[in-house]
Every structure is written in structure tokens, then in C-alpha cells.
């Protein structure tokens, strides 16, 4: 991989990390607006995402965003999470329990110069994500689906209000878990609109074949801590798709 900045990738990851019993060895670059890390649970997806966000310090390697080095073990560079051109919604992420939905949404904007703009933006997002009616509710009064939508909206507000002309990479770990296909589809349509309007690139994690196809994205397939393949979803996940269809039809036959 060249370090030539004129053809710099969006993000280049080259890390090795000991994951209690399994070595994680990940090398890949992102160039597409939406890339999906696909693999079974325990394959190292979340660790990769957390390394990019800055919550895990890999044993060795480099992480470069555009021309900015976020992590380099030999040069001893480690940029703190909030200084990275990255916004993230982790797997264990929850809404802040002491703030209403509205205040949760604008939380990521607390450190930029345009609070009024962020408020307006949050209102717009709440309208398109179906959260307007519950804007003043505390998180413990929301259903699981409402919490999911608010979490995604919060991350999008943080990414849009990022204080730089260059938009940050949005990291989302299982952003649609707990949503059925219909709800996922609705949320995805709105999410896509916002992301493409603001040109925000995404790296998301899933172990769900259906979701990977629905996102129709570039897929990085990972198994046992290693990158197996990278490419369009229809090429990378053909086997998984066939197996899923088999299971579905078998299930349908049993039901009949």
C-alpha cells in the first residue's frame, strides 16, 4: 500500500491484536461510501471498529484516515477518540438515561460553534426518523425500536455537526439489531438520504446476511480474526446467501 496522499484511501487499517486466544490480523482499505464488516460473532469485527474509534489500542500496526495517522505502533502515535475524524455508535451504546431524546440527539454537538443549527438539525432528523412525538421523553420510556432509531439519529447528528469541512467516518456496530426487516428498511431509507446528502461515509458491522444485502454495500468478510475477502456483497456473500435461502425454504416447507 502506498503512502501517496494524492490517491489516499478514506481509511487504511493494518492492525494486529491478540484477542485472548485468537490473533486478530486485519488489513483493508475503505473507498466506498458504505462498507460492511461481515462475520460471525467472535470473529473480531467489534475489535476492529473499536480500534478505529480509539477505544482499543492494537498491539501493533497502523490506522490512517486520509492523510492523518490515527494510530501507529512503531511511531508511537495514538490519537485520542474525540480527536479522530470518526464518530461512532458502539454495540453497547445506549441513550444517556438522564437526558430526553432531544438532548441525547444534540449531545454530539456540545463542542461546536453552532448550537442553534444543531437544534434545528435534530428537529429535522427526529421528524424523518419518527421521533418527534417522543422528543421530550426520557430513554427508559421508549420501546426498543424507538431507542434504536434515536441511537442512529444521535450518531448522524454528531457526524453532520462535526466541526470540519471534511466529514467524519461514521462507525456503527450492529445498528439495526432488534429491528424487524420492515422497521430496518424504513430506518435505512431515511438514514441513506441523510448520509448521502451530507456525504458521510459509513463502516458498519453485522453478522446478518439479509442486512448486508439490504445495505447493498461493499463487504469485508472476516472469519477467525482474518479478512477473508473484500468486494461487492453479491460476490462475497454468495454462499451465505444460498444457505440462508435454503434455510428459509426449509422453514417454509415445515410450516406448510
Amino acid at each position: 500500500m502506498s503512502s501517496n496522499s494524492s490517491s489516499a484511501h478514506l481509511l487504511t487499517v493494518q492492525i494486529e491484536h491478540w484477542l485472548g486466544g485468537m490473533p486478530l490480523n486485519a488489513k483493508f482499505s475503505l473507498n466506498r461510501p458504505w462498507t460492511v464488516l461481515f462475520g460471525p460473532s467472535g470473529s473480531g469485527k467489534t475489535t476492529i471498529l473499536r480500534s478505529i474509534a480509539g477505544f482499543v489500542r492494537p498491539d501493533s500496526g497502523r490506522i490512517v484516515s486520509g492523510t492523518q495517522i490515527l494510530f501507529d505502533s512503531t511511531a508511537k502515535v495514538f490519537v485520542r477518540p474525540y480527536r479522530r475524524p470518526v464518530r461512532s455508535a458502539g454495540q453497547t451504546t445506549r441513550l444517556f438515561p438522564h437526558m430526553t431524546v432531544r438532548w441525547n440527539l444534540v449531545y454530539g454537538n456540545g463542542w461546536t460553534s453552532k448550537p442553534a443549527e444543531a437544534m434545528g438539525l435534530a428537529e429535522e432528523l427526529m421528524a424523518s426518523f419518527g421521533l418527534t412525538g417522543i422528543a421530550d421523553r426520557m430513554p427508559d420510556r421508549l420501546s426498543g425500536g424507538e431507542q434504536r432509531r434515536a441511537l442512529v439519529a444521535r450518531a448522524v447528528v454528531a457526524a453532520i455537526t462535526f466541526d470540519s469541512p471534511e466529514k467524519p467516518l461514521l462507525l456503527m456496530d450492529e445498528p439495526f439489531s432488534g429491528l424487524d426487516i420492515v422497521a430496518r428498511d424504513e430506518l435505512l431509507v431515511e438514514l441513506r438520504t441523510w448520509l448521502s446528502r451530507w456525504k458521510i461515509p459509513v463502516l458498519s458491522v453485522t453478522h446478518d446476511v439479509g442486512e448486508a444485502f439490504q445495505l447493498g454495500a461493499e463487504v469485508i468478510k472476516i472469519a477467525d480474526g482474518r479478512i477473508v475477502q473484500q468486494g461487492p456483497v453479491s460476490e462475497v456473500l454468495t454462499e451465505e446467501r444460498a444457505r440462508l435461502l435454503e434455510q428459509l425454504s426449509a422453514a417454509a416447507e415445515n410450516r406448510a
Partner: protein, 228 residues
């Protein structure tokens, strides 16, 4: 009723609580988020006043703040008078003696805050300090009040350290608990009883504050045992 002693006790308790909150917040956060041998050592030192006889602590503070030791002599030169047997000296002693009562509820409260909230805040662009003020502290607010109430009441009730370090000077170092002791020595049981009742009142109000106020002694929706 000994109003001079009551006023002195209140000043001492308010001063100690104010100083300790400033000291205990960063200390407790460091203990709650750290690990390793240094953390264990700091925790042990903070907890020392819990197990040490107050007279032992008072004795060493008396030596340390007085003209018998090098730091004491330096202090005397800076302040202009010996800290021992003065209100300022009492304040120093109280702060050290009540340190565990301020720190331990906060450590319990901070530890109970889910790491996921901190990562959520940092993932949205908050610095560690910002995450602490906007997320950790509000979620542990119950422990903050518990810490303040315990420090206040513990200072009101201290005896050994005050007697060793401050002596028994009315208006300057004679607190309620010392004044109570004095009255018993004089066989003035009626006056002693009135002073004792005030001290009992302080304790009951403090405990009711901790157990009755909504949200106090709780963090992240769960009750945290702060009065171990």
C-alpha cells in the same frame, strides 16, 4: 446551650465538606477508573483514617503541624503561627480524618456508571473531561450528595483528632463533641444532654437525607451501597 461551640462546629463541618468535595472528586474518579498497584496503595492510604485510632492520627498531625518537625516549622514560617491549637489546624485534621467518607461513596458511584455511557460520549466527540462532567457526574449525583452528607456529619461528630490537635479552646477549637465531654467532666448532665441531643439530631437528619431523597444513593438506576 453552647452556641459558640455549635457555630464553630458548623463552620468546621462546612469548610471540611467544601474542601473535601474538591479533593475527592478527581481522586475518586482516578481510583474508580484506574487499576494496578498504585491504585491499591492510594486506596489503602485514603482508607487509613477508618481503621486508625483518631488519637494516633491527631498525635502525628500535632507533631507534623507543630514546631517539632521540619514541615511544621516551614508551615509556621508561612502562616505566621503554629497550625496546631488553631481553627486552621482543625480544618487540616478534619479533611484528612474525613477523607474516606468523602471518597468511598464517590468511588462506588463512579464505578457503577456503565463504561458504555462513557464510550458513547467519546464516540460522539466528547473529551474525557467533558464526558465526566456531562455524563459520569450526573449519573453518580446521588453518590455526590451522600459523600457530602457523610463528610459533614462525620466532621460534626469527631472527637479524638480535635482533642489531640486543637485542644479545648472555646471559640477557637472547642467543638460540640468536646464541649459535651467538658460538661460531663463538670457533672453538668442537663447541659450535656442538650448538646448530645443536637448531635443526635444532626445524625438522624443526615441519614434521612441519604435514605429518603429520591435519586440519592443511587446511580444508573441501581442502589449503591455507600454506607458499607
Amino acid at each position: 446551650m453552647d452556641f459558640e461551640a455549635l457555630w464553630l462546629t458548623l463552620r468546621l463541618a462546612v469548610g471540611t465538606t467544601a474542601i473535601l468535595l474538591v479533593v475527592a472528586l478527581p481522586l475518586a474518579w482516578w481510583i474508580a477508573s484506574g487499576r494496578g498497584a498504585t491504585r491499591a496503595l492510594v486506596q489503602a492510604v485514603v482508607a487509613l483514617p477508618l481503621v486508625l485510632p483518631p488519637t494516633v492520627l491527631g498525635f502525628y498531625l500535632l507533631v507534623a503541624l507543630g514546631p517539632l518537625s521540619a514541615p511544621g516549622r516551614l508551615l509556621i514560617r508561612v502562616v505566621g503561627h503554629p497550625l496546631a491549637f488553631s481553627f486552621a489546624g482543625l480544618l487540616v485534621g478534619s479533611v484528612i480524618y474525613s477523607l474516606p467518607f468523602a471518597v468511598q461513596p464517590l468511588v462506588a458511584g463512579f464505578s457503577a456508571v456503565d463504561r458504555g455511557y462513557i464510550e458513547a460520549a467519546e464516540g460522539l466527540g466528547a473529551s474525557a473531561g467533558r464526558a465526566f462532567w456531562s455524563v459520569v457526574l450526573p449519573l453518580a449525583r446521588g453518590s455526590l450528595l451522600t459523600s457530602a452528607v457523610l463528610t459533614f456529619t462525620h466532621t460534626v461528630g469527631e472527637f479524638g483528632v480535635v482533642l489531640m490537635l486543637g485542644g479545648n479552646i472555646p471559640g477557637s477549637t472547642q467543638t460540640l463533641s468536646i464541649s459535651l465531654y467538658d460538661k460531663v467532666q463538670e457533672f453538668n448532665y442537663a447541659a450535656a444532654n442538650r448538646t448530645a441531643l443536637v448531635l443526635v439530631g444532626f445524625s438522624i437528619v443526615a441519614l434521612l437525607t441519604i435514605y429518603l431523597l429520591p435519586g440519592v444513593g443511587k446511580a444508573d438506576g441501581r442502589r449503591v451501597d455507600v454506607v458499607q
